[in-house]
Homo-oligomer: 348 residues x 2
Amino acid sequence: MIEDKNQQRTQLSDLGEFGLIDHLTKHFKIKQNSTIKGVGDDAAVLNFDKKKVVVTTDLLIEGVHFDLSYVPLKHLGYKAIMVNLSDVYAMNAKATQVTVSIAVSNRFPLEALEDLYAGIETATKIYNVDLIGGDTTSSNTGLLISVTAIGEIESDNVVYRSGAKPNDLLVVSGDLGGAYMGLQVLEREKEVYKVNPNSQPDLEIYSYIIERQLKPEARQDIVKLLSDLNVKPTSMIDVSDGLSSEIIHICKQSKVGCDIYEEKIPLDPQVISTCEEFDIDSTTVALNGGEDYELLFTISQDDFPKIKANPNLTVIGFIKEEKEGVHLVTRADTRIPVKAQGWKNFNS
Amino acid sequence: MIEDKNQQRTQLSDLGEFGLIDHLTKHFKIKQNSTIKGVGDDAAVLNFDKKKVVVTTDLLIEGVHFDLSYVPLKHLGYKAIMVNLSDVYAMNAKATQVTVSIAVSNRFPLEALEDLYAGIETATKIYNVDLIGGDTTSSNTGLLISVTAIGEIESDNVVYRSGAKPNDLLVVSGDLGGAYMGLQVLEREKEVYKVNPNSQPDLEIYSYIIERQLKPEARQDIVKLLSDLNVKPTSMIDVSDGLSSEIIHICKQSKVGCDIYEEKIPLDPQVISTCEEFDIDSTTVALNGGEDYELLFTISQDDFPKIKANPNLTVIGFIKEEKEGVHLVTRADTRIPVKAQGWKNFNS
């Protein structure tokens, strides 16, 4: 799959660290006025004038967060940027810069890193952010990507996780569970490929959910939409670990409870049909799947008329007093306590 | 050595990601006015008013950058911060915040990470910086630390690598080669330990160079000193990869040449005696050793009277026209072209 034996292979050791960084980043253009000095000195220099600065960072590790047997490096580079920008947007901020550090083993030729950086460059172009620095080193095993994203925001506009109030509405952008079901399809195809490397899978009917897994988009557009609609959420978080985990974060930090309505959770038809095919409950997938990179936020009921007609936004719940707890109200009208699934990485 | 079999072992999976981050960071205090929101939301929120912001990032990887058989985790945490603050100081800036991401395999118990974070906390206290975020995940192999450091500076005070002018003086803080020779001693002791685990090495006579390797200090004090002396360097870089590599960076980016005087290179007596013991040329060690985290900078000759009496600063060279090239002037008065040693990591 990814490691095409016929591709040109240039050894990384032929370039050295500085040659490698230069080679990989020379095509990147500076786009933001706030970037005074990007790659090439001990540190980047930025100017945010009187705006506030937001900073977030995430690690992506081969074998833990991605499997190169079915993740193209170009998509991986793109996704590594999305994962981080999503956190900037979850503060209601504008993303402006990223740093990208990578550790790679010698099994990766230069051409593989060029693919990775092509994806990073595409992401920085589309999302209008500058690559301003990073580190490149060898690893004894696989590939590791560490991204730090920086954004700017007027002080009054920052949205924390902690501002939800009883009677607020809980709203989510887009739809949920697609990235998780895309992963299930890709994992199944990997097993098929092991048995029969000549199989030609037809993944057309899974195109949406596979794209949700391999090439997610951070919801910059939702931040702009809310601004255009003159809606400032009372709290916001991005859906990276799964809806239930994110709702619990908001409720815990805002000291509120919440009812989530199962029937309201937005699901793409491909998610529903693939859940049926895999015999998995689609609500469980939406609650615990993760990696959707949608925005989950609360708004005052006064703002409901402004968002109700928008197909990108779905009201899925209602904020209550803290003592009421966090519950899923099922289609059968039973109330089930919502629990975070916790962190599975250390158990795998 | 480091992995004491008797120590208490708490499995990381007992805590989960959020429990782990909370546990490791709960003792950290916010010290900087510019930190509005640190750990605990999708991103940190910072306020630099009208100051400029500098950002730098570095990866440290087990087996490439450190060997846990002789590097205590507490020192490693401290050093990971120093490596990054050093880049902030090399811009002539004040370090204000750091993010720390770690990837760890299951072989590390919670207590090991507590040691690592104790070192990080000590560094943030002494250097007055805030831990504002990070990511914690599992790895399939060893330990990896990714740090991003942020600093602030008045626009006019930024010092780039590119400002050196012919006739400027080349100055270095502290002394060079210690970290490299400390590493040679530690590597030798590791081999001795393999043969005889009961050996009790007396490392007292190497105490300075071992400390230079295990617990380096970033030269925050030099930035303050230069400010107090009213000296603004024309260019500056930190000595992380070795003196020759850093001089070449300054010369290339400033489009100048340079003569470096071998007899002027500051060496600690322990470096000289250990070089003799190991039969290594001390000038070669100073030029190519790396990890000294001293500051290398150029100043106008007009500023020479202000620095000449300072024991922390040594004039080691003279900036010339670009066409003159970069040379080491030896004690025997021969001129040897200086070449960067390049990047050895990918060859190892």
